[in-house]
């Protein structure tokens, strides 16, 4: 039993900082909003809105977490996401059937599969390029970032793709619903469906990383590629799979994004990767690999959203919000590095 409690305390210790930071930031906004704002910050409606917005970042960030733990980075996540969204929007727009037709569900299923496949292919391309050319992930994905944007533009014919409402299934229209109409919640009353989805996916990825050979190999690969090779881990396959899997999460994220904005615009994705990476880093992910956690990433996404949401409610200009988020990211990493530095020396004398 002692072993379990130790594991749990260790798990918690590494995420405690992010949780605390989130609570402090949320508390600050709650107090500020109570005195200077509308007083709406603390309230079920706003919590729904926050959880929904966080899900939009968190889902693609799950894939990014795996990549970052494996010692990589994916700058193409943003444009790959909107490329997938554009593919999905186009499939809906040119749907031969509408809501009323009985074959509608089958068509939607195909559209979903094509979208998920698009995401996986984007990731697969990244993974293969990185593994075969040995060019650093930063450069490879910088390249694919604009390639995906270009492909998205071709599909969208350099405009925005709108699908008529009768081509969009109801559950998808309601995927991001946060209002007060009970009928519009797909799964649980008053809990946005996208938030439920994000939590479900997060738990799955968390289990995958912690309890499977693949997950442990990802950590080993990120910590030291040489060691991974020495331990008989197939570095090539593991890395390609990591990026492909991340592509799947990007595609899932694109569905949420489509449900949110109800159109497909390839240019929306520019800069989106930065929020995604920021969520991972705020959650304790190390860009040198080997470190990162799903719980941390979820909290990281929440921190970003809470700042955006709180600033909105307090009518703080968007410019200031951007600066605040930037500062928080830098502070988080500095604090984390400091913690890393002092931890080994805090440990009692092992040699004694």
């Amino acid at each position: 039993m002692k072993n379990y409690s130790k594991t749990i305390s260790l798990l918690f210790r590494s995420q405690l900082g992010a949780v605390l930071a989130f609570l402090v930031i949320a508390l600050c906004f709650a107090v500020a909003d109570y005195f200077y704002g509308s007083g709406n910050f603390v309230g079920f409606r706003n919590m729904r809105s926050i959880s929904h917005s966080a899900a939009l970042i968190a889902v693609p960030a799950l894939g990014m977490t795996i990549i970052i733990i494996a010692g990589g980075i994916d700058l193409s996540a943003g444009t790959a996401l909107t490329l997938c969204g554009t593919v999905f929007a186009s499939m809906l727009k040119f749907s031969p059937v509408t809501n009323e037709a009985s074959s509608f569900g089958g068509y939607i299923l195909i559209a979903l599969l094509v979208t998920l496949a698009t995401g996986c292919i984007c990731g697969l391309i990244n993974g293969l390029l990185i593994s075969t050319t040995k060019v650093v992930p930063f450069i490879v994905t910088l390249g694919t970032m604009t390639i995906f944007l270009g492909i998205g533009q071709i599909i969208a014919q350099e405009s925005t793709v709108y699908a008529p409402p009768e081509h969009v299934p109801l559950w998808l229209q309601n995927l991001c619903y946060t209002g007060s109409n009970i009928e519009k919640y797909n799964l649980i009353r008053y809990v946005p469906t996208d938030a439920i989805l994000a939590i479900f996916l997060a738990v799955s990825v968390g289990l995958l990383l912690k309890f499977t050979i693949f997950g442990r190999n990802v950590f080993a690969l990120g910590s030291s590629e040489l060691t991974a090779r020495l331990c008989g881990i197939n570095v090539f396959l593991t890395r390609v799979f990591v990026y492909t899997l991340a592509g799947l999460f990007v595609a899932l994220g694109s569905l949420l994004y489509y449900a949110n904005v109800k159109n497909g615009n390839p240019t929306d994705g520019q800069g989106m990767e930065l929020d995604i990476i920021a969520a991972v880093v705020l959650g304790g992910g190390s860009l040198s690999g080997g470190r990162g956690s799903i719980l941390g990433t979820m909290i990281g996404a929440l921190i970003i959203v809470v700042i955006q949401n709180g600033c909105d409610l307090l009518q703080i200009p968007n410019t200031v919000t951007l600066i605040a988020i930037g500062c928080i990211i830098i502070i988080a990493v500095v604090v984390d590095q400091f913690r890393q530095k002092i931890e080994p020396s805090k440990a009692p004398d092992a040699a004694a």
Binding site: N3, Y4, K6, T7, L10, L207, K210, F211, T212, I213, R216, N217, F219, A220, S223, S224, L226, T227, A228, R229, L230, C231, G232, I233, N234, G290, R291, P344, S345, A347, P348, D349, A350, A351, A352
Partner: protein, 498 residues
């Protein structure tokens, strides 16, 4: 020469977390003198030099340079005071010219502007002193040989008027001829009144270059004096601090029948086609100079580097891939513990089990509890000193890290253990434990391949020893039929002949 020492260190202490690197170290050196700093790997030699060069700060103790207090705030400060360090791994900017490298980071290069023309005479003078008159100052450093690069680095030290030059095992990567040239240059520097601290564990080298010696053992300075006054035996006993018999406690074992047959194993560029046979239950030593292809043999055997040739175990040919070699019972301990041997920022349990997680996996899920129990058993077996299995490997001392790495190949249940410099950089006590473990493994019928640069341990521990030169295994004999001299002859002699 003044009656004061040029450089003096008193009571220097330095700790890194749990490890004591230096304790009460005393050292002094006069101008125009070569002091040999002798000690085994891990004795604290490099730490001491880094303290002098300002890369580390001593926790306590006092240093004086030319009679004045000396406590460098960093490498730049130390350099300014006239202390230059020539590292084992050279510290040059490979893409810059010789001239730019010599002038790199030096004062007086013209108010932020680099006025090469005014400096050229200084650069050429320094190059001439190290015997590089013929080298163009505009040549690119990265295109020169290692030996030349080392001389450029010495020239850099001269150009900034170094009073003390520290050499950290400067001959470890040099061919024989260049070693002679280096020694001549060191003598020349000495005659110019420069004090030299020379780190090495090769006693022959020390004798031919140094005037005095200081021996370090486990972070203590245990003796110093004139090199002419002591025998090699005396220095060795200072280095190890006990009799050689206690040092190599190998468990008794008897080699059995032929087990692994290696035919024409060759890689790019090394090893050149090499064939040998390993017996069951034996410790097979591989000796040879650094760069003779020892490590490459192990890597090709383990499938880490691409190789041709066949490896047969019990008459079964094994595919050349790490995974299949591992499945056939091969296990490898890397020479580079820090970056390859272990994943430093993962836990002990993780490092021990990562190469073999299948036993704990049901339906794709790892039973973490079972895994940590098994890892704890192994930690106990190899006596890893740590709070718990969840401690990060980077927090352990070198010896304990090595035990974790060994625990991993035990966990893989390997029966052909390829160990590349398993005792490098670890303390004497742990070394003895590792020798004992090797013997026990051999006694259980496992085969250990032991690569080492330290001949006494090879001679004491191994059943048979093969000597590598120029990428292939030249000669294999029973350990009892070798002497240190024979091995060196075989390792070097052929080198010169070809």
């Amino acid at each position: 020469m003044s009656d004061h020492s040029l450089l003096e260190m008193q009571g220097i202490c330095k700790r890194f977390g749990p490890t004591i690197a230096l304790e009460n170290v005393e050292l002094e050196i006069q101008a125009g003198e070569v002091l040999a700093l002798i000690g085994e790997n891990g004795a604290g030699k490099s730490t001491l030099l880094k303290t002098l060069s300002g890369a580390h700060r001593a926790d306590s103790g006092r240093m004086t340079l030319a009679g004045e207090d000396f406590s460098p705030s960093g490498p730049a400060d130390s350099r300014k005071r006239g202390i230059a360090m020539i590292y084992q791994e050279l510290n040059l900017a490979p893409d810059l010219s010789v001239e730019d490298n010599v002038l790199l980071g030096q004062p007086g290069t013209g108010g932020g502007l680099l006025l090469r023309s005014t400096q050229r005479s200084r650069v050429q003078e320094a190059l001439a002193t190290v015997g590089l008159e013929g080298l163009s100052p505009t040549a690119i450093v990265g295109k020169q040989s290692v030996a030349t690069q080392q001389l450029v680095e010495i020239a850099r030290a001269l150009a900034c008027d170094a009073k003390v030059i520290l050499f950290d095992e400067p001959t470890s990567s040099l061919p024989q001829n260049d070693v002679k040239r280096l020694f001549e240059i060191i003598k020349r520097l000495k005659n110019n009144g420069i004090a030299i601290v020379y780190i090495s564990h090769f006693l022959e080298e020390v004798r031919s270059v140094a005037d005095r010696y200081t021996v370090l053992r486990d972070g203590h300075s245990v003796g110093s004096g004139k090199i002419a006054d002591v025998t090699d035996q005396q220095i060795i006993s200072l280095m190890v601090g006990r009799d050689v018999d206690d040092l190599f406690p190998v468990a008794p074992h008897t080699p059995g029948e032929d087990y692994v047959e290696i035919t024409n194993l060759s890689g790019n560029p090394y090893p050149s086609p090499t064939s040998f046979t390993l017996r069951r239950g034996e410790i097979f030593g591989i000796a040879g100079l650094v760069g003779s292809g020892r490590t490459e043999v192990l890597r090709c055997l383990f499938g880490l580097d691409t190789a041709s040739g066949t490896v047969k175990k019990e008459d079964q040919t094994i595919r050349q891939a790490v995974k299949s070699r591992m499945r056939q019972g091969f296990g490898m301990l890397s020479e580079d513990r820090k970056t390859e041997g272990l994943a430093q920022d993962l836990s002990i349990v993780e490092n021990i089990t990562i190469s073999n997680l299948r036993p704990y996996t049901t339906l794709g899920f790892i039973n973490l509890f079972e895994r940590s129990v098994r890892a704890a058993e192994l930690m106990q077996q190899v006596e890893v000193k740590a709070h718990s299995g969840s401690q990060l490997v980077s927090e352990l001392s070198g010896g304990n890290q090595q035990k974790v790495a060994i625990a991993r190949i035990l966990h893989q249940d390997s029966d052909v253990l390829l160990m590349d410099e398993p005792t490098k950089g670890i303390d004497v006590g742990t070394k003895a434990e590792i020798y004992r473990m090797m013997g026990e493994l051999a006694d259980k019928g496992r085969t250990v391949v032991f690569v080492s640069s330290y001949l006494p341990e090879l001679l004491a521990v191994c059943d048979r020893i093969g000597v590598m030169a120029r990428g292939s295994l030249r000669e294999v004999r029973d350990a009892a039929d070798w002497t240190q001299d024979d091995i060196l002859q075989c390792a070097i002699g052929i080198d010169e002949g070809s």
